[in-house]
């Protein structure tokens, strides 16, 4: 075989004049192509997981949302947009959505303010700072089920510690887990875990250049003015992140279910009205009533709403969020 006879794509190397075969050469691959290949190879476990565990279930849920499927009955039918039209005429959908919006509007700002306040305090050079940081963060480590059980025990009308304390002072016991107080207990359960927000805000605070604070102090700015004009703007990307994730978490919260005194799947509908949030409606349709199709439609609507709300948050905060990005990093 001469050099001319070597197939272009062959792996056999050219025949040297000595008659020995040269080591095989790989076809040339550009550096960009190699980088792309490496990227896809390294990310493939996640991509496969994302496709199988997110895209496929979502597509399945989308298909379900057009049916009356209940998981077990032999006959079910394709109803087109029937579930979606029913959803818009279902008063429970609107009521629960309204309550969810109100819950997000109160819980997110309050938890961000509480978390930021704590972060500012534990960012000071005080004694046992590490211990305080740990103690304040601990509640965030408790699993939600533990929080639910603890709060149920604390706020039970007849045997809870909360009423134990207020009756000591001569007040009558309150039905904390019923309307109208249940919403406050729910809010407290969110604020109790403000350590999560604190830890992220603390990381943000430590990124604020000290020289800016020193310059402000030299210029005679008050602590509040420094916080308002330097700390908050520099923390704004962190606050935006917390707002977006906080809103998403609050509209998806299942904490009312964990605070449910009934303890059964069907008990979700017995929740105090103020705690019957959108996810509770989804939960009751899905698990208590077995309406997989309708519940899937509710979830798809929630998904779209979250996209819209997130988009609006980005749009309306674009002018007040300051990104400290290295221009070179964009290249």
């Amino acid at each position: 075989m001469t050099v001319d006879q070597i197939p272009a794509t062959g792996r056999t190397g050219p025949v040297e004049s000595t008659g020995r075969t040269a080591p095989p050469q790989r076809p040339r691959i550009s550096m960009t192509a190699r980088r792309h290949r490496a990227f896809y190879l390294f990310t493939s476990p996640w991509i496969i997981g994302f496709l199988l565990l997110t895209v496929v279930p979502m597509a399945y849920a989308l298909w379900l949302s057009f049916t009356t499927y209940d998981g077990i009955s032999p006959h079910w039918s394709y109803v087109g947009l029937g579930n979606y039209t029913e959803l818009f005429s279902d008063p429970q959908t609107w009521n629960s959505l309204g309550r969810t919006g109100l819950f997000a509007l109160t819980s997110v700002p309050l938890s961000i303010i509480a978390g930021l306040g704590l972060a500012v305090q534990v960012n000071r050079p005080i004694k046992a700072r590490g211990l305080f940081r740990t103690l304040l963060y601990l509640p965030a480590v408790v699993p939600p089920v533990g929080v639910g059980l603890t709060f149920k025990a604390l706020f039970d009308q007849n045997s809870g510690a909360a009423n134990g304390v207020i009756t000591l002072f001569g007040f009558d016991a309150l039905g904390w887990l019923a309307d109208p107080y249940a919403r406050y207990v729910l809010l407290m359960s969110v604020l109790w875990a403000a350590g999560n927000v604190m830890i992220i805000s603390l990381a943000g605070l430590q990124d604020v250049p000290r020289e800016l604070h020193e310059a402000a102090r030299i210029d005679g700015a008050s602590a509040w003015r420094t916080f308002r004009s330097i700390t908050v703007p520099l923390l704004s990307p962190v606050l935006l992140f917390q707002t977006v994730t906080g809103v998403i978490a609050s509209v998806q919260t299942i904490m009312p279910l964990l605070l449910s005194p009934d303890g059964t799947t069907a008990g979700v509908t017995a929740l105090p009205q103020s705690n019957y949030l959108y996810m509770m409606h989804v939960f009751s349709q899905y698990f208590a009533l077995g309406r997989y199709g309708y519940a899937s439609a509710l979830l798809w609507v929630l998904f779209v709403l979250i996209l819209i709300v997130t988009g609006l948050i980005f749009k309306f905060t674009s002018g007040v969020v300051f990104y400290n990005v290295d221009p070179e990093a964009k290249k």
Binding site: S77, Q157, G267
Partner: protein, 449 residues
């Protein structure tokens, strides 16, 4: 492919090894799954049982291995998981279920195995030894209580009966309820009101709890006790506006309004009566004989705890149904039916059944096991006398096959609090319940075909 010792791990080799690792992991996982579903375990057959942890604790699983040579793999009971497993064609071999409500629901959907041929060939579970409560697990395609057997109850109670705490009655100066003659529901509620103790807005003693096992079932039982039927003849609708159903509903709403016991507007954080009754904070609890298992284990409480017959409505019928009849059923597509039946026989007729009977946690569902019910102590003899007298009033109250108990319970929960809080009349509530429940039943009927 093995890297040489000391050789650096190139990217290519790392990816190759990762792929090999992933493949091995997948094979291992698949092997695990196969062990569950193939029915082949180490040294014997494997039966997958979906139940609650208390039904099949580890010691019972070990006992099955020893007694039967069968390996039991337990899966925690979860209706969503059950549906998933059935949809995937790999259902458990045995499933926990509440006979009173699950049997017609699943049987109507043709996912249960007809166990009649197995019963016919069994030396352990003989037809003439089966207590009538097992009829809850029969369904003829239309009515519960007739037709093939699809399962069996592990034990049962006549759940409209109630326990009372004599110490709390004495403290309140109340006469004890008669032991063999029923009080009326109205009297029961009045007594509960007098027994209730409150301080600073806190209820320190609940006068009485009357929630039944499952609220829809309780309402169906109360309606029968009032002389009517909650369901129409074909079980496709409910009607809360008939005089009998309205009477039943009115009584239960009055119970909720009076706040003499736990309800959806005054929930007990324990979620069931046992701990509250045991703590001497509940004077009456309609838990049926089953609660005796807890009471017998508390030597301080047991002498004060007595059982009483199910109340009646004035002018109504004396009925004393079982509202649960919890047991096991076999999915039609179970893969290991013969081994599952061996476990079934053992669980319902041999060692575990005898242990349950002796523990007082319910009445055995085989008549031959009745002598094992606890009767050593005087208080146990007294309870047993009341229970035995009540057995002749047992009746199966058929439940609709078109909706789960959970779904009707959820719909009741959605509507009833307004009435219990005094914001809605019972008549208006009856109308709303008819509307939402019949819609759910209509959907169910369409899906059964």
């Amino acid at each position: 492919m093995h890297p040489r010792a000391g050789a650096s791990l190139s990217r290519r080799r790392f990816l190759a090894l990762s792929a090999a690792g992933a493949a091995t992991g997948a094979a291992t996982l698949s092997g695990c799954a196969m062990q569950v579903s193939s029915g082949v375990g180490g040294g014997g057959e494997t039966v997958t049982v979906m139940a609650k942890p208390d039904d099949f604790p580890p010691e019972l699983v070990r006992q099955a291995r020893k007694d039967l040579g069968v390996k039991i793999v337990t899966v925690r009971y979860d209706i969503t998981k059950l549906i998933g497993m059935m949809t995937n064609g790999a259902p458990p071999d045995l499933v926990r279920g509440v006979g009173a409500t699950d049997a017609p629901y699943f049987a109507a959907r043709d996912v249960m195995e007809d166990l009649d041929p197995y019963f016919a060939g069994s030396d352990v579970l003989k037809a003439d030894d089966l207590d009538p409560v097992n009829d809850l697990w029969r369904f003829d395609g239309r009515t519960q209580g007739k037709g093939p057997r699809y399962g069996m109850a592990k034990d049962f109670s006549q759940d409209s009966m109630y326990w009372y705490n004599t110490a709390l009655f004495d403290r309140a100066g109340e006469a004890h309820p008669p032991e063999t003659e029923p009080v009326t529901f109205e009297e029961w509620l009045e007594t509960a009101g007098r027994l209730t103790r409150r301080e600073n807005g806190q209820t320190t003693v609940f006068g009485g709890s009357y929630n039944g096992v499952l609220t829809p079932n309780l309402l169906a039982s109360l309606t029968v006790a009032a002389g009517g039927s909650l369901f129409t003849d074909d079980f496709s609708r409910v009607d809360f506006t008939t005089p009998e159903a309205r009477k039943a509903l009115n009584w239960y709403i009055e119970y909720g309004r009076a706040r003499v016991g736990p309800s959806i507007v005054q929930p007990d954080p324990n979620t069931w009566d046992g701990p509250t009754f045991q703590a001497n904070r509940m004077a009456m609890s309609n838990s049926g004989y089953w609660l005796g298992g807890l009471i017998n284990s508390d030597k301080k409480l047991a002498p004060h705890a007595r059982l009483a017959p199910a109340p009646v409505f004035e002018g109504g019928r004396r009925v004393s149904p079982c509202q649960a009849g919890t047991g096991l059923w076999m999915p039609r597509k179970a893969r290991n039916k013969d081994a599952a039946w061996r476990v079934f026989e053992w669980f319902f007729g041999e060692g575990p059944a005898k242990a349950r009977a002796a523990g007082g946690w319910g009445i055995p569902t085989l008549k031959s096991l009745r002598p094992l019910m606890p009767a050593q102590e005087d208080y146990q003899k007294r309870v047993l006398k009341v229970q035995n007298a009540e057995l002749k009033h047992f009746s199966v109250i058929a439940y609709t096959p078109y909706a789960t108990a959970d779904s009707l319970y959820a719909l009741f929960n959605q509507e009833a609090p307004a009435a219990m809080n005094g914001h809605l009349s019972v008549d208006a509530l009856a109308g709303r319940l008819n509307s939402v429940m019949n819609e759910q039943l209509k959907r169910g009927k369409e899906q059964v075909g």
